[in-house]
């Protein structure tokens, strides 16, 4: 299942905190799609996902200061 997390406009570290919170309620194999515009999260979200053992199925820059990342729960 795919879930969308609305964190556009949030500043660091809230996108990461929201992502961690949302991840807890997902089932293994579910995907979380996070669209964000906070620059520092380009570093903190993938780092957290990798260290927690989740896999990243999509990660791209959509436009000026706008990114999307999809994390699959382990």
């Amino acid at each position: 299942m795919k879930h969308k997390l609305p964190v556009l406009g949030m500043v660091c570290p809230f996108p990461l905190i929201e992502a961690q919170k949302a991840m807890e309620s997902l089932n293994s194999g579910d995907e979380l799609v996070i669209d964000f515009d906070c620059t520092q999260a380009t570093e903190s979200i993938p780092r957290w996902a990798a260290e927690a053992g989740h896999s990243i199925t999509n990660y791209e820059q959509l436009g000026d200061a706008s990114w999307t990342i999809t994390i699959q729960k382990k």
């Binding site: 406009g9 949030m10 500043v11 660091c12 570290p13 905190i17 919170k21 515009d37 620059t39 520092q40 380009t42 570093e43 903190s44 993938p46 780092r47 996902a49 990798a50 260290e51 990243i56 990660y59 791209e60 820059q61 436009g63 000026d64 200061a65 706008s66 990114w67």
Partner: protein, 358 residues
């Protein structure tokens, strides 16, 4: 005047560029020491301090620059640094962080900057001068750590370098997790400067080198210190409202303007610039954060850069004590903003569960 504008803007632009591309956020770093038990950013700061310390004391030894540690008012340094630490969490970035995020187009950082500029000017030449002076009266002693022990500064620098080598080696030896990165779309220098992820330790080395460079550039224009953010930020507003060039316009003012410029260039070049508007809650907390930053940094005579990076490297009590208390301030604020709401939410869930099962 021309030299002051040119070298100040240049040094600031280099710093702003490096901070933006390196995502060098000390507020986040101090916060994560507590929230994530992650010392990476703090270790990076130690690298920058050590490099600057070796470089600047070598310059002092050769007589190229002058430095006088002066005295430290303990109470105002401790109180100020703690308040500053709380402020930077609310503002979402320290003084420098706020300047460079303003260059990325974050309107929340412009709001924080306005509060910070206002209260730091009020503390230095405005309505809050009596308050600032009253706290600065107490417990004043010698500021230089080597002078307190009556020995040369070099054993302390050696000790710091050894500690830094130890933590860096330990960090680099940790098993590495591969961190996914964005697919590369650029090549060569363009990729290195505007796309590649910079290792925090590389960024720290560059910050240390820029901090050394700041000393001779600044002293050449008659301002005898290195990187500094708070006084220059106050000076900018003081100059704008009084028009007094001789008193308020100095190398530091161009340094902080340069940070904004360098960060803008870095963000624009890497497609990370966009005006972003915060919601009302974030806007208010940014302003309160900025206000606390200005008060705190003025009491402590420095921010994360002035005290945390520069006065630490100069082996002063002020630097290290302020660094400790600003970290404690960020931890206190992090507890109330990030940890406590989560614990509360967890408890409410447990209560809800009990009522449904009962």
């Amino acid at each position: 005047m021309g030299q002051m504008i040119f070298t100040g803007l240049l040094c600031g632009a280099l710093l702003g560029f490096v901070l933006q591309r390196g995502r060098f956020c000390l507020t986040g770093g101090f916060r994560d020491m507590y929230l994530a038990k992650d010392n990476r950013m703090f270790n990076a700061l130690l690298i920058a301090i050590a490099i600057q310390s070796v470089g600047v004391f070598t310059l002092i030894q050769t007589g190229a620059i002058e430095f006088n540690a002066g005295q430290i008012p303990w109470i105002s340094t401790i109180v100020g640094a703690y308040v500053f630490g709380i402020g930077i969490v609310l503002a979402g970035g320290c003084a420098t962080g706020t300047w460079y995020r303003a260059g990325e187009g974050l309107i929340g950082s412009w709001i924080a900057l306005a509060g910070y500029m206002l209260t730091s000017a009020m503390m230095k030449t405005g309505a809050l001068v009596p308050f600032n002076d009253s706290l600065k009266k107490y417990a004043v002693t010698n500021n230089s750590i080597p002078d307190t022990f009556g020995i040369s500064v070099w054993p302390f620098i050696l000790l710091l370098v050894l500690i830094v080598l130890f933590v860096v080696v330990r960090q680099l030896r940790k098993p590495k997790v591969k961190i996914p990165s964005l697919p590369a779309k650029r090549k060569g220098l363009n990729h290195l400067l505007f796309e590649k992820r910079w290792h925090p330790f590389l960024t720290a080395i560059l910050v240390g080198l820029i901090a050394i460079l700041a000393w001779p550039l600044s002293e050449a224009t008659g301002r005898n210190s290195g990187l500094g953010i708070t006084t220059p930020t106050a000076n900018l507003l003081q100059y704008l409202v009084t028009g007094d060039k001789t008193k308020y316009l100095n190398w530091g003012v161009f340094l902080v303007l340069g940070i904004l410029l360098g960060s803008f260039i870095a963000a624009k070049g890497s497609r990370e610039f966009r005006f972003r508007v915060p919601d009302a809650g974030t806007a208010v907390s940014s302003f309160i954060g900025g206000v606390l930053m200005g008060v705190g940094a003025s009491l402590a005579s420095g921010c994360t850069i002035g005290n945390g990076l520069v006065m630490t490297a100069m082996m002063t009590w002020q630097g290290w004590v302020a660094l400790l208390f600003m970290i404690l301030g960020t931890w206190t604020a992090s507890y109330f903003i990030f940890v406590r709401p989560r614990v509360k939410a967890g408890k409410q869930q447990a209560v809800a569960y009990q009522t449904t099962t009962a």
